[in-house]
Symmetry: C2
């Protein structure tokens, strides 16, 4: 049943067509008044300008790495060292290209949909939701469509045209994962710094010093803030999840090669299985989107239920289809593989739920955090921090159970490699619903922007209320989405570590944790995530500082700005954010690319394995902590703004604002970037594995 | 040259005699005026009352664990299971007893020396230093003396009386390490919660709400605050370092058994070597203390140099003596072992230096943190947090190099077990200067208390200035001491992990990090440190909350308190702190004891090894981050109070106070407790190793 592999390009095409269709529908809505069009245009221009310059910087980086890889590949051919294939540099480029394209297209539709959502919200909450959700779905299906397209193109090219064997095929495909990771890291870090620098800068001067409300058009940083939502939360997230998606699929395919080396037919089936599961997921997600509809009288709660219904229906479809596929395609004795997929799917949903539990103000943890504002800013910080640390317990247990189940159910007890394949499949299972999960997630920033436009264009208060309701719903789905992104990153990273070990060959390694190079690797890996977080956090601080200066300058120098008689120089703030975030993203991103090579050349392949495990474990914990502390601080502030503990302007509110500001870089810059870091480290290690195995000190 | 083992009890006795002599000298000073005596008495009473109740709660816990161990040991004899020796329960008790005694005696002398230091400071800075330093030295030599005494008693008892072989001797001795760890965890966590709850509670109401200065006698929590310094920073630290000290020595002795199994004579030498190195260290420290003297005209800088001189001279003596010992005792071909010891010593000094670099306001990081107060509390928190995370890089690199050097120089390349023995020796080397390091460290809280007494007794402003100078010097040495405690904890934990693996037998284990139980163990271990930090932090928050209520009540209900006409009910605050800290210490401490057993019964011995490695790596990072963030916040505040950025009362100062308050539980409760947690986890795992190896699910 090898014909089934053609399902992969087919569903890629279906996903892209569907995304195109939805995009056309979104574009059919009106952008509203001239003022709205003008604001939307400013945001669009700012976002485009940022992305153009980002791609230019990143392009340079890709050029350099391409040349390095090319030189190594040529050297490898000439010397017969065999440590790098000639396909590697090209695969690397396509991965970067498609990852960037995912982010770019997602941002295109998001910046087109924001004013349209605000305009549609004039007619009702549901109409607004429809526009926003459709644009989110465009993003979701672009990501999975491009991911599967890239995978199938390379797979068909390598197997049909170049007739490579299974091992060579999957090893080459892993390389484009490295390209995708690099692009994703730049997009997440750069975008994350942009969005938080603009946000913090706008708030510190606007809300705190000048005393004007959020999204007030008099604030010179207000457009930059809206641009930030698009380049960070949309383009960054698109590149990020594209990378998790293809990473989990190709690493699992690579693991299948060793897992089923005894039987060529089964090996082929195992190798295409992750791709086919992903393809099934795309079709199931597509069906799921049709169930996202609401009555005109819908409340926020019923809206959420409607969104969730889409996700759950897709999940059920995937479960049924993959059961049938494995039962009839591979036989009843391989059903363990099905349970590996199932465990990943369930783990994803559970982690999402507990992320919501810890960060939503409908539950106790965030309520208690809001209580702690009564004794001032310091107790809010301690409380939020402790909440974030505590919230790591359940996700760790969920991931642990999922790893154990998928390893042993996939046959790891008898054959170690089959167990590792099972762990990879659990990541694929978790990410199989990505099309629709991302749709419910990516509409948040669009709603957020729509609110900003409504405010700036002076629209009816009711419109702002509706966009706020959409935005708040978006925060809930974003929390779930964040948990999902972290969980899938951890499982994908584990699959990648296994793929790395597999590439070097377990028998050539001493992976015992008592081996000092492994042990030191663990320490260094953990330390890298701390260092990386520190770098991204101070980057936000520095960039925000420069925005504060610029906003203060404009308030001082532009006469009549505060009175609303003169217009602020929005473009200057956007430009400043662009420049500083591009400058600040370099060091953290370079750390991710260079560290594995340096560690490898010193500590050797065992040390690198230790480093990957250390980074994955510590990174997973920090990412959850940061996401949940940040989310809880944000929602505790919103809870107080809703009139609790004295409401807006009270001392409690001021204390909560401190928490929220600390949480901003936590949840939107450092936290999400770590997800990518841990995968990038593994990807780079895989690509340079043979080189490191040949040359190292210890 | 086996006679050299008698050097160990001999230097234990010398250390204790020296401590007694110093104590007598301290007691010879006058406590000053009646008012001073009365305040000192209140502090002493509060501290005694706390310790009495703490020992009662902990005694109950020890009783239960004793019975559990006894039952297991009896069952082991009856069934022939061999998973626990009959000595185990008793060894466990003595470890706990001596660890508690170290803390108790340290606290006794500290509460006796505080008023005496204040009184002596009337006559000059140096006289004050002499009293305070002598009391610190009492503590230092009590800790090392009791440590070596316990070790030598058991060693002689087991080898001479019961004639156990080397393996059985060291395995039994490891058990008293578990007793010491348990006691230390209770002391650190309970004392840490007490001191910070009182501190935060006193500050929040006193300084912030009532607007009265620190240590003002009108503040009802002021005595509790001073009691806290003694039960937390003195008794807690004493128990902590006692535990690191004996832990590193006995685990290294245990490692020697496998490392030199081929040659019985060498095995014996290897086994007694760590004890002898420690004994040499005690004598060298004793000599070092005589070099701590200053001229009457000494500045703060020259005081620091004088303290350092003592440490450096001791270090040089240890280096020379251990070189001679190994060269002549074991032969030139074993000189690698000497370098292992040396690498530990150097690592300890380097980590101490970099801790100071990151937390002292004479260097750039803390200065920049103080700058960030200009943009408010949120940027101070982000800045301090990022500083703490960044500051993990160098200690990780230093520890890594030390591990690599000690492993390979001790012969790990040829014989794995000898390398592990080398890692253990580096921990012993680092801790060999403990006598004097602890002396320079433990005098800080005494100086702090002396300042409090000077303030409360209304002494001359000049006295307060001098005690402040001593206190500030104490902060610097405390920072170094903290780095030292963390570094030694990490190396000791690594030695303990090796001892654990050794006990189960490497050949019976699959310690590869790709083994899913090891991998999950890593995740769970990392998560435990996060969970534990969260628990201790919220414990401080809750306990502080109750102090705030009580202080507010007293201000409200005691007429004339604010006017200084009525006296506050100090005892009520002390009692409240006692009760809440004892209540709050239970859960975190239980987590440390129960987790390894639960993880072991589920994941088996490989999972436990993973858990230990995960906890050590993540715990090391968090402990450094918390210590350095907290220290930098504290000193940034002091830097502002010294007149920078607007000085006391400015907006910058307010922002810095938020940072300092967040930093309090970081640096004095959660951070130091993690050091103990990682060792306790290993100790418990060792004691239950055979049980876990027999019964487990995966």
């Amino acid at each position: 049943m090898n014909w089934i592999v053609y399902l992969v390009p087919a569903s890629a095409v279906v996903a892209l067509l569907f995304a195109g269709l939805l995009a056309r529908r979104v574009m059919g809505y009106s952008e509203g008044s001239d003022r709205m069009k003008q604001i939307a245009l400013s945001i669009r221009r700012g976002a485009n300008a940022y992305l153009k310059r980002q791609y230019r910087s990143v392009g340079l980086f890709f050029g350099v790495i391409f040349l390095v890889l090319l030189a190594l590949a040529v050297a490898s051919q000439v010397t017969g060292g065999g440590f790098m294939s000639l396909f590697t540099p090209f695969a690397f480029l396509t991965g970067g290209f498609f990852s960037g394209l995912s982010g770019f297209l997602g941002m295109k539709i998001a910046t087109a949909a924001n004013a349209r959502t605000a305009n549609a919200a004039q007619e009702g909450l549901n109409r607004g939701l429809r526009v926003a959700f459709s644009s989110g779905a465009v993003m979701g299906f672009v990501v999975v469509g491009l991911g599967l397209l890239d995978i199938s193109l390379w797979y068909l090219l390598l197997t049909l045209v170049f007739r490579l064997d299974s091992a060579a095929t999957t090893q080459t495909m892993l390389t484009f994962g490295m390209g995708a990771s690099c692009m994703a890291l730049f997009a997440r870090v750069g975008g994350g710094i942009f969005t938080k620098a603009a946000d913090v800068g706008a708030d510190l001067v606007g809300k705190v010093e000048a005393g004007i409300p959020e999204d007030d058009p008099r604030n010179p940083a207000v457009i930059a803030d809206n641009v930030g939502d698009n380049v960070g939360d949309v383009a960054g997230m698109g590149a990020d999840l594209y990378e998790s998606y293809v990473g989990s699929i190709i690493s699992t395919a690579a693991l299948a090669v060793s897992a089923f080396h005894a039987n060529a037919a089964e090996q082929l089936l195992g190798m295409i299985l992750p791709m086919v599961i992903a393809a099934i997921g795309v079709l199931a997600s597509l069906v799921g989107t049709f169930f996202v509809k609401t009555k005109e009288s819908a409340t926020q709660r019923s809206l959420l239920i409607s969104l969730r219904k889409g996700v759950y229906i897709s999940s059920v479809l995937i479960v049924v289809a993959s059961f049938l596929l494995i039962y009839f395609g591979m036989g009843a004795e391989r059903l363990g593989i099905f349970f590996a997929i199932l465990s990943g799917l369930i783990a994803g949903i559970l982690i999402g739920f507990f992320t919501e539990y810890y960060t939503s103000d409908t539950y106790k943890p965030t309520r208690k955090l809001a209580d702690s504002t009564e004794t001032g800013a310091a107790t809010v910080i301690i409380g939020g921090f402790s909440l974030g640390m505590r919230s790591t317990a359940i996700p760790v247990i969920v991931v642990s159970i999922s790893v154990l189940c998928s390893f042993f159910l996939a046959g790891g007890g008898a054959d170690f490699n089959q167990g590792l394949f099972g762990i990879g499949l659990s990541a694929v299972g978790m990410l199989s619903t990505l099309g629709i999960t991302l749709a419910t997630d990516a509409y948040g920033p669009v709603a957020d922007n729509a609110g900003g436009i409504a405010e700036m264009a002076g629209m009816d208060a009711q419109v702002r209320q509706r966009t706020d309701a959409l935005d708040s719903l978006g925060n809930t789905t974003a929390a779930t989405g964040k948990g999902f992104a972290i969980g899938s990153a951890a499982l994908t990273a584990l699959a990648l570590i296994a793929a790395y070990v597999d590439k070097i060959g377990m028998d050539n390694m001493d992976l015992r944790i008592t081996n000092p190079t492994v042990l030191i690797g663990l320490f260094v890996g953990g330390m890298l995530t701390f260092l990386f977080s520190a770098m991204t956090m101070s980057a936000v601080g520095r960039a925000a500082q420069s925005i504060v200066m610029e906003v203060r300058r404009q308030f001082r120098e532009i006469k009549g700005l505060m009175e609303g008689k003169a217009e602020a120089d929005y473009a200057a703030c956007v430009d400043l954010c662009t420049r500083s975030s591009l400058r600040e993203m370099r060091m953290p991103a370079l750390l991710g690319v260079i560290a594995p090579v340096v560690v490898g050349l010193i500590l050797g392949p065992n040390g690198v394995a230790g480093m990957l495990a250390g980074a994955t474990v510590t990174g997973f914990l920090i990412a959850i902590m940061m996401a949940n502390s940040g989310g809880a601080w944000d929602n505790a502030k919103k809870y107080i703004e809703a009139g609790n503990h004295g409401g807006k302007g009270s001392d409690c509110h001021k204390a909560a604002v401190v928490g929220d500001t600390v949480g901003d870089p936590f949840k939107d810059t450092s936290g999400p970037s770590i997800n990518i870091l841990i995968k990038l480290l593994s990807m780079v290690s895989i690509v340079f594995a043979s080189l490191i195995a040949t040359y190292h000190i210890f």
